[in-house]
Symmetry: C2
Subunit: 443 residues, 2 copies
């Protein structure tokens, strides 16, 4: 009997197609990815993989495409509980008259726990393996990410108004830093500073934040140029555009992620490009609140790193990064007037590697490359909405719905297995969401 010379491995996944995102646009047919200790150990032809590796678990997905786990680079997970509470309103009214009052009335650890669990259920089912969160009670969100085994970048929120989470600026910093300390070096959870927006945080606070971010080596994640009104008011009040102000305060750098970024002029685009900051595009939210349009093609032409976010469910109302990817690709063409803008492969990169870069995690996630974490999303392309398959990347971007996501792995662990959640109790989460709606309705 011949000696088995195969290398041991934990997991071998053999999909019909494998889209590694690096190199850009590549589609590997009949390949397999091999996972050991939560990381990718090899990507190679299926037959060779089976010959060389003795994997404990072999998953065959003969009508499916395997891609890097989707990275949701901006959101407010707990806001799922406010989904559909106030639609068809502009940002100012929506925030000031509906969202902030609701949060001040209902917001608390229990609200954040139940809302974030609902968001995790929705996001995992949609193939999102890593999410960036900006919300109150980041300690609760971080705990849930660990409990349900989801990769997360937890924002240490700073906003100069009282909320159920903190009252003074000092308290926001202190409480945020406790979360940072608790998760330092954690394999799934990292932290970022999350100053809310230029119009809610003062110069002094932003300077203090920048110093701390430099010392602790954490990224900064901020709503910037969400609307034209934000830009116009800043010019009137401070004689300075918000981006220019952030640059004066030393915030714009490769570790800065600017979310939304509408109403950009050429100087703004130059500035973002020169400072190597990332832009997180949230197309549904920008359209729904009539905030404005992000010039994605112009930013891409200047080499700016682009990521995608769902934003919160109160302004989207879906946590569906495949949907955002499709909308980004469609919208970039209309905004630039050029149907060649943001072609499918570039849109897919935004939803994966671009997001990883924006969150400072590109060494670990965002593409299927040996050495990176084994974060994968597997989508079944065999169905009425996704046949025939002339072009796999086109199908992923323009056609594949999140409902065809069958399997999701994070750090090599299955969190969605053949459509079934393995780390979260869907029935309980949905019951609690319904109970919240009833409670809010009867108030």
């Amino acid at each position: 009997m011949p000696v088995d010379t195969r290398q041991p491995a934990d997991l071998l996944i053999a999909p019909r197609w494998l889209v590694p995102v690096e190199p850009a646009g590549a589609v590997l047919e009949h390949h397999a990815v091999v996972v050991t200790a939560g990381r990718i150990s090899a990507v190679l032809p299926r037959a060779e993989a089976l010959r060389r590796f003795d994997a404990r678990i072999v998953i065959e997905r003969p009508g499916h495409v395997l891609l890097p786990g989707l990275v949701n680079a901006h959101g407010h997970a707990a806001m799922t509980l406010l989904r559909g509470l106030a639609d068809d309103l502009p940002l100012g009214d929506w925030l000031g008259r509906h969202v902030w009052p609701a949060e001040n009335r209902w917001g608390g650890p229990e609200f954040v726990r139940d809302g974030t669990r609902l968001a995790l259920l929705e996001m995992l089912g949609a193939g999102i393996t890593c999410f960036s969160d900006m919300y109150y009670f980041p300690d609760v969100v971080a705990g849930l990410a660990v409990e349900h085994q989801v990769r997360a970048v937890i924002g240490m929120i700073v906003i100069e108004q009282p909320t159920p989470w903190a009252t003074t600026t000092g308290e926001y910093f202190t409480k945020g830093l406790v979360v940072h300390d608790q998760y330092r070096g954690h394999p799934l959870v990292s932290t970022a500073f999350a100053p809310h927006a230029p119009y809610t945080v003062s110069d002094a606070t932003l300077q203090r934040l920048r110093m701390l971010a430099d010392e602790l080596d954490v990224p900064v994640h901020m709503h910037v140029h969400e609307t034209r009104a934000e830009v116009t008011e800043a010019e009137q009040r401070h004689g300075e555009r918000p981006l220019a102000r952030l640059d004066r305060l030393g915030l714009l750098s490769a570790s800065f992620a600017a979310v939304h970024m509408t109403a950009l002029d050429t100087a703004d685009i130059d500035l973002v490009s020169e400072r190597r900051a990332s832009v997180v595009h949230c197309p549904s939210s920008n359209l729904k609140l009539a905030s404005g349009l992000c010039p994605v093609a112009a930013l891409a032409a200047r080499g700016v790193n682009l990521a995608l976010g769902t934003d919160g469910a109160a302004s989207n109302n879906r946590l569906d990064l495949l949907g955002e990817m499709r909308l980004a690709a469609l919208l970039a063409k209309a905004v630039s007037g050029d149907a060649r803008a943001l072609p499918a492969a570039e849109a897919l990169a935004m939803a994966t590697l671009g997001g990883a870069r924006a969150l400072g995690l590109a060494e670990d996630i965002g593409s299927i490359v040996p050495g990176k974490q084994a974060d994968f999303t597997c989508i079944d392309l065999d169905g009425p909405a996704t046949e025939p398959v002339h072009d796999v990347v086109s199908q992923l971007v323009y056609t594949a719905p999140r409902e065809q996501v069958t399997d999701v792995w994070i750090a090599g662990r299955p969190v969605l297995a053949d459509g079934r959640h393995t780390t979260i109790d869907a029935t309980e989460v949905l019951a609690r969401a319904r109970a919240w709606a009833a409670r809010m309705r009867s108030a």
Copy 2:
């Protein structure tokens, strides 16, 4: 034993919520709809319905919303076989260098049959109960609508260039009229004239078409102002904008549906409004081909009837009218700069009653009102993506994915029952789609 005094009925459906579309924005809780001989006989509270009617079939849907069947007011069904064949290209290149050559090479009755069946499978699963089609071999499409029991408005296409369907203008008319005669008075299939576009049909042909349309009392359905280039070229060549030319030829009327309608100026909007023509908005297609933006809010403000279309799968790439509804609502806000534009209830009306009006079928379909045809779509709102339900209409427009459509009835007959197609063999249709892709790839 008491005599049963209940009225007999064929079908009684009792959903958690019923959204009749008329009156606009209404949501009826714990109501039922009663169907007799394919038509709606009553809409009333559930308990009263069960007391008054003895229905052969009673369907309870306790976590679902029932709405009128969705009306896809513009498409090219057979083009599903070209899905993803040529993306990220402007209309001119896309048509001239990819789509028309592919159609001339592959197009024929077999292509149309297999492509249309795939489209029917996708559309029925997505809750579409009525579709308007503009394509070659309309005889084949009409036959399939009858075979699979789908309501259809079949376009008698006229385009002044040779195709596999017809060579001369006269042949387009003759062959179209044969289809018209065959389906005159058919309960599911009606016909419309479908001149392709202003730039592919001459004045003389349009005049002949208008006379015939008047005589036969059929609507006219046409691509109009699809791109700014179309408008500019017409102005240069004829000294006249396409809409003005169509008006001069007497085509603009309440039985005219103008598809796409980008690059509209105030005079164009006035003209459409005064002539009471309908506008069929195809938001995904307009974005993807960078065609331009349709000023939906401005048209709505002038009282123009608005409908929604998926367009063909080669330029969308989904036949998902719920998705188009959501995109229309989002995009109208950005285009008008007003987050209150096209609120959820109005977007839902576009996808149902507005479509029915554009196709000349508003007396029979588009709302859940006694006397109308029993065309319904039932959507399960109980799931991670659609909880909690603060607002049913918001959930339908901004959140509900087509994958949560569970049941579809057309003229009172179930065509999708608890997620299962009853009139079409999905396995065979998908196998044929895959075979086409293989054949086209290897050519």
